[in-house]
Subunit: 414 residues, 2 copies
Amino acid sequence: MKSEIIAIGSEMLTPWRQDTNSLYLTERFNEIGVTVTFKTIVGDRMKDLVGAIRTALGRTDIVVLMGGLGPTEDDLTREAVAEALGISLRRDAAQVAALHARAATWRIAMPQNNLKQADVLEGATVLTNPNGSAPGQWLDVTFEHYRKVIVLVPGPPNECKPLFDAECIPRLKQVVPERHIAKRTLRAAMIPESQADKLLAPIYTTYKDVETTILAHAGDIQLTLLCAKANAEQARQRVDELASRLEEALEDWLYSSEGESLEQIVLYYLGLRQSTLAVAESCTGGMISQRITSVAGSSRSFVGGAVVYSDALKSAFAGVSADLIAKHGAVSAEVAEALANGIRLRTGATLGLGITGIAGPTGATDEKPIGLVYIALSDPSRTEVMDRTFRGDRARVREWATQQALDLVRRRLM
Amino acid sequence: MKSEIIAIGSEMLTPWRQDTNSLYLTERFNEIGVTVTFKTIVGDRMKDLVGAIRTALGRTDIVVLMGGLGPTEDDLTREAVAEALGISLRRDAAQVAALHARAATWRIAMPQNNLKQADVLEGATVLTNPNGSAPGQWLDVTFEHYRKVIVLVPGPPNECKPLFDAECIPRLKQVVPERHIAKRTLRAAMIPESQADKLLAPIYTTYKDVETTILAHAGDIQLTLLCAKANAEQARQRVDELASRLEEALEDWLYSSEGESLEQIVLYYLGLRQSTLAVAESCTGGMISQRITSVAGSSRSFVGGAVVYSDALKSAFAGVSADLIAKHGAVSAEVAEALANGIRLRTGATLGLGITGIAGPTGATDEKPIGLVYIALSDPSRTEVMDRTFRGDRARVREWATQQALDLVRRRLM
């Protein structure tokens, strides 16, 4: 079955705000075998809203209306559905009582316009909203001879998502033919995109019943495999079979078989090897540490490190000699190596990671272009240094460098 | 005039990818006085596309079609416009030659299906794409008795944005009645949202001709003021007048009058005072350093610092005594103060910032809840320490703590 998600609110038609609820709703829809075929964003104007609702009913089976359920004059979703379908709104006594009770709990006077939220569409089921005053509504109607479902859900993410899960998904399962969905996410680091495509497309395109989505960002590739079947076991088997073949093709570029992030995997291997890591960052300026420490429990294997943005700090915190910097330059293989060794020795960590480069937009020399990065990894037995030149602006160079550095640690521990 | 942006591509109907180009296009549209009244996302299916194009032409004046211009079978935008309008596509000799020339430059054989990209709609103007092989197209048509503009632009952001700026904006200015747009962005830190609303709403709601948008995220509030008038001077005056009144109301919560980020402002003041900053981060794990170093040229005032994730590193890099940690705990006002002082002395920076806290999800004690953060700022004359308890998950606590720490530095320098 097909669905359309309509996000309602003029603020989502500005350059600064975007609907993100629909990503969550799409995931939940896909899990029960419903495809999202259109997403529409419309402002708080009656005529636009009524038109968008009619258009959606004409082209899909299930229409979700998100937002516009509050108490203000701009909240027009209920009225727009009534007009689009030619049905009436009635003020629901139970909902009025609930609004009064809510106001009493919060010890606030209830403004008259709040009562709008108790207006229920003819024939609709009220959907309880545990986190807000505006309930959702569920409507099963006939529109131009076809059966259609219309769902009204509140816009704030903390109201929309739990209400959709608790009230809509169970009802949708009654409407949608039963499908079992199997899903797997594989991730790989630093494989060139064109190479990934060449390796993987010949495999996944032969699995017509598995929907494969590939996302690439700054040296990270994520493959999501989704299969819907009447039989759960069959769906699972198809996804696992394809996943195995893709894993094999990805060889050691693959770092995750169940969607874990690269920093999670690095921490997992550090734990497994009973190793610890310290980092001396220059051009990435804390980004590597920040990614690692975003994982809860990272303190077990990550001791910390230094952001050695000045030459003086390269010496003070990682023991890099001023002579070495003068001789080779702060951006050099030698300094990267000294940073890795130095931070390891200073912190007593098992592994030391050092990184120095030119993130841009200035700082390039004749020999050293913007995007040039040296990454070194040291353990008591050896130190390796790699250089890479990443393209793009300052933010992109830093993201790629961070990804490459984490991947270097992963490969050492594997 | 009204416009609709249609983003084309099945990947944008998955839970993992979102159209972001439209935010940029919306900003550019608003600057020339065009309102975006609908945004639609549609997959690579002929029937859906044709329907979406017709719907858009029926409800807006300017329709932008983004994506679906590549060489693959899934790229259907040209064909869909031809079908929606009942016009023909012709293979353009000049475009065929351009594709061959491009392939020759890259020394690659040109696959036959690439030639699709040379198909031009009847009556369309070809828009040069400097960053890709698929050109854009501009079409001025009559649809159901009304004049409409249809623009086809490529989907990849690095192709879409420059092409839209160079080829579409000048042409749109010929079509759109001349409007002058004045714009200002104000930013404020750490002001409670309810307080901001109470202070600001009575002011900006009286300026009906200025569109005010407020965005809040993790202790940061951004107000954007936009005014469109036939007279440029009048638009500018209205925006500046409102901006002055809002600035006054925001008092010292205001940190930026022209949209600069908090880290930019901190670096600006550091430069002005000829001061330098060093940071010792525990719970934020590098996030403060990362934000500061995201600004080009930050090395002039930011020397770096330490990510002191373990107790040992708090001692090694910031000279915090093991006794002090044992006595008060790693998360304490005393340790934050010692971190700030220690990192300042170790690095020779003018200012030292120390931060320690419990980001969660574990680590709370009876006295110290999740979200408790101590932030200390030290200069040669004094050290101040503040404690805050932030709500939310690990990521949010870290974001709020980072924002509060940067704001503390700003206030000291102001």
